[in-house]
């Protein structure tokens, strides 16, 4: 995924058409007709259900007793917000997000540096880096769960400081390590590709100039390379952070939420699909949606990501 790349750059001769001419009116109407199907479909499956969730969240509504639907105002939200389970899953999710994105950023950057400099076997590297990206998350979850398994895996055998019968999935912290390993493995390549695109923007001349002026490798990295690829880093962080906050597949496959490893997405899913509590499930959906908005807002404000300009530069 990447930021939008639309630009206002237009051929000059079209710009010259005076506003409100027949031609610009025709162009306006054609443009709207062309985007309409895509726009309607996007809104039909997102905005409309979200409004419906907002409405349902005000009811005590369970699919097991649909006729007992009852308006309860904000009480579902109060129930959720006053429940320690909600806060624990949120804390879990935030922790996964911060830890995985931080590690991915470092490893992804290292990979991008290598790929940027490599001159041989580019195709092989590119192919292998795309395999984790393309692989089904569920498959990645299985691969790592079985790798950490104490009966059929290999991790215990490879780690000298662990007994062969250490059970990774018996307690909270080791389960979280396994989950994050799968998440980091699968998504680091995507991060490194975005960072690679950013690296390509750093001017070689500037690097040469810094070198001539006697800057060390470390100084060049911090004073030239990183500041010049700020936009790429921020876009990668924004997208990966929001993606990590939605973590669901790995947890579902690897622990099914055991030992307190539930994420907020998993809790929402469980309330709706397994327990048929549509009222409280909808309230959790709305809260999840709001928290993603808050995170997006915080990242954009905190790091001053300028999505509009990133887009215009396309």
């Amino acid at each position: 995924m990447s930021t939008a790349t639309q630009t206002a750059a237009k051929p000059a001769k079209q710009r010259a058409v005076p506003p409100d001419s027949d031609r610009s009116r025709a162009e306006n109407s054609l443009g709207r007709k062309l985007v309409a199907p895509a726009l309607v479909l996007m809104l039909l499956v997102t905005a409309f259900p979200m409004l419906r969730a907002l409405y349902l969240s005000l009811f005590d509504y369970s699919l097991t007793a649909p006729d007992d639907r009852e308006f309860v105002g904000l009480s579902n939200y109060l129930t959720a917000l006053s429940d320690s389970l909600f806060w624990r899953t949120t804390a879990n999710t935030v922790m996964i997000m911060v830890v995985t994105v931080a590690i991915e950023l470092v490893i992804g950057f290292a990979f991008a540096m290598v790929m940027h400099r490599v001159i041989f076997a580019r195709g092989v590297i590119r192919t292998s880096i795309l395999i984790p990206y393309g692989i089904i998350t569920v498959v990645s979850g299985f691969a790592w769960q079985f790798a950490f398994s104490n009966t059929n895996g290999f991790v215990n055998g490879w780690l000298p400081f662990l007994g062969d019968d250490f059970n990774w999935f018996a307690e909270y912290s080791s389960s979280m390590i396994a989950i994050m390993a799968s998440e980091i493995w699968k998504t680091t390549p995507f991060m490194s590709l975005l960072l690679l695109a950013g690296l390509a923007q750093v001017s070689e001349d500037m690097l040469e100039a810094a070198k001539v002026d006697g800057a060390t490798w470390w100084q060049r990295l911090w004073k030239v390379v990183l500041p010049n690829m700020r936009a790429a880093i921020m876009v990668a962080v924004l997208f990966r952070a929001l993606d990590a906050y939605r973590i669901f597949d790995n947890i579902f496959v690897m622990t099914a939420g055991a030992n307190g490893t539930e994420s907020i997405s998993f809790l929402t899913y469980r309330q709706t699909v397994e327990q048929f509590q549509l009222g409280i499930g909808s309230a959790l959906s709305v809260l999840l949606f709001l928290s993603v908005l808050v995170i997006a807002f915080l990242i954009v404000k905190l790091f001053k990501v300028d999505l509009a300009s990133a887009r215009q530069e396309g």
Binding site: Q6, G31, V35, P189, Y245, F248, S285, L288
Partner: protein, 280 residues
């Protein structure tokens, strides 16, 4: 001296990348050759131990399983239909965004950006309810619709980035040289636009093939259940006692299409993923 050190560093880095990317893949392939009896008794280690190998038995078993075959069929059908429809709609929209001035362009772009960041799980509960009301719960169309709307943003961005690079004047130039407008479109514009459309299609297909959240929550039977969901339900309740090697074989089968696509189209995929990341 310094140069040599750099080169060694890069070679080591490349090896590290290869190990990182391929180790879990090799592992799951290796696991798929452990026999089911060995798994039940416990058979640790990266490579199947002596006497713990199963040959192709796990693959035969998994391919003989009706539910698994049905899931593959569902996944292929749903992903392909969603991809084709999504790319058609995205092509229309991206053409308008790249080539035309119209009111509401900004709204379309903002909507697409917002949807790309949308927490999909928050749609599970309302869609679950709505799809039941509409009677499309547990059907192909019930999955195709959400797949389309979640791949449209990516497809629209990728395509409009590609379309902006096309020298559209060439169409007129061809017409001046005597080509009909259809010829100009077919011989000049289509070959230029095709790589972009193709890239968008691959990325869309990946998303649909990968999806798990909609796959488990909007289906209940093998009628529409796609591969990721089928794999996760392969054994049912106890998540700690799965027939690991059988599942691994299923996982490998489900990964084959991805590997084939990556092998043939790696260059296009990278271009698509990073087009417009920054300054594309």
């Amino acid at each position: 001296m310094n140069n040599l050190k750099n080169r060694v560093g890069i070679v080591l880095g490349c090896l590290l990348i290869l190990v990182w990317c391929l180790l879990p893949v090799v592992w799951i392939i290796s696991l798929s050759f452990k026999s089911q009896a060995a798994i039940t008794n416990g058979s640790p280690g990266f490579i199947p131990a002596d006497g713990a190998g199963a040959g192709w038995q796990n693959y035969q078993d998994v391919l003989a399983d009706d539910q698994f075959r049905r899931a593959i069929f569902n996944s292929i059908g749903i992903s392909l239909i969603a991809t084709v429809l999504s790319v058609i709609l995205a092509t229309l929209a991206a053409y308008a965004i790249a080539r035309l001035e119209f009111k509401g362009k900004k709204f379309v772009l903002t909507t697409a950006l917002a949807i790309a960041m949308f927490p999909v799980v928050s749609l599970v509960s309302p869609l679950f309810d709505m799809w039941r009301t509409f009677g499309i719960y547990d059907t192909w169309i019930g999955l195709i619709l959400p797949y389309m709307s979640f791949t449209l943003p990516l497809a629209i961005w990728t395509l409009s980035a590609f379309f902006r690079e096309i020298p559209w004047e060439m169409e007129q130039a061809a017409q001046v040289d005597g080509a009909t407008s259809w010829q100009a479109f077919r011989k000049v514009i289509v070959p230029l636009a095709a790589p972009g459309v193709f890239t968008a299609a691959i990325l869309t297909f990946f998303f649909a093939w990968n999806d798990f959240v909609f796959g488990i929550s909007l289906t209940s039977t093998e009628n529409a259940r796609p591969i990721p969901a089928a794999l996760s339900f392969f054994v049912g309740a106890d998540p700690f006692n799965r027939p690991a090697s059988l599942l691994a074989a299923g996982a490998v089968v489900a990964t084959i299409p991805i590997i084939i696509i990556v092998l043939f189209f790696q260059r296009k995929i990278v271009a698509g993923l990073t087009s417009g990341a920054v300054k594309g």
